[in-house]
Symmetry: C2
Subunit: 155 residues, 2 copies
């Protein structure tokens, strides 16, 4: 059936955080997010892809006002669990295209990525699920990205 | 506000595919999913985390009946775009916990991961967004995972 696009959203208030080289054994993700929960850090868009040589990167976004507290927690947790380090990137933005069933429709998914590609925008992280396709891009391209996605899907 | 857990779902019909070492330049994701769209491959849960030395892994799940067609497409596309290779894993399952606002609640997120950790289940991939937290785990642990998550959230 046809996917009905509900809209395009963006948020430039995100800071990207990555715990690099997390040992790929049970309990590590629980420990990282358990420690963040103790400091009441608001998180969004957790991404863990494929492991490489028995370690894995766990990436996610935090609200800018929580970034400092999150960095402190993560640096101490990363040491405790033997991860390789913590990487923080502040100049990112998230753009999402929303629509029921969108993430299972491969031609709509390809169209989202090609709208960004034609605008010369590099995709830094990707997360899709159910009703949304989200991309992390460089913050200075967020207006161009929203315009490109609007033109492709909402006009 | 409190997150209301709507339920726990699982699917063992997934095959995990990863295009490894994709050059981190605009247009690569558009090319990969454009080629899959030509073969009408049904996809789910696309994940791209942090790049390492100018390349990135793009992971996703396909329905088992599409896995062979998807592998053929990806091996040819990976060669064309100069990616390092294609990795296919058949013995995986997806478990998800569903609830409005769940992915922004860090203590619920930590509880999902710790329920799996206490059952000794390793988390292979993670994707969270809006109403769901999804984990890819080994297929032979899917009953244990669903039982552990039900016990933690639905009883
Ligand atoms: C890397 C991390 O996710 C680990 N596999 C865990 O289960 O916690
Ligand atoms: C790796 C891939 O996502 C690339 N950065 C792109 O924009 O297509």
């Amino acid at each position: 059936e046809d996917v009905i696009i509900r809209g395009v959203t963006s948020s430039a208030d995100e800071v990207k955080m990555v715990v690099e080289g997390v040992p790929d054994v049970p309990g590590m993700a629980a420990r990282i997010f358990g420690d963040l929960a103790k400091r009441n850090v608001k998180i969004d868009m957790i991404i863990q892809a494929m492991k490489r040589e028995a370690v894995n990167d766990i990436a996610f976004c935090v609200a800018r006002e929580d970034a400092e507290a999150a960095r402190e927690v993560l640096e101490s947790t990363a040491r405790d669990i033997g991860a390789q380090g913590v990487h923080v990137e502040d100049n990112v933005a998230k753009v999402s295209v929303i629509g029921a069933g969108i993430s299972q429709d491969v031609s709509v998914t390809a169209a989202v990525f090609s709208a960004l590609a034609e605008a010369g925008i590099n995709i830094d992280m990707i997360s899709t699920s159910g009703i949304r396709i989200s991309c992390i891009i460089s913050r200075d391209r967020v207006e161009d990205a929203v315009r490109a996605l609007h033109r492709r899907f909402c006009e």
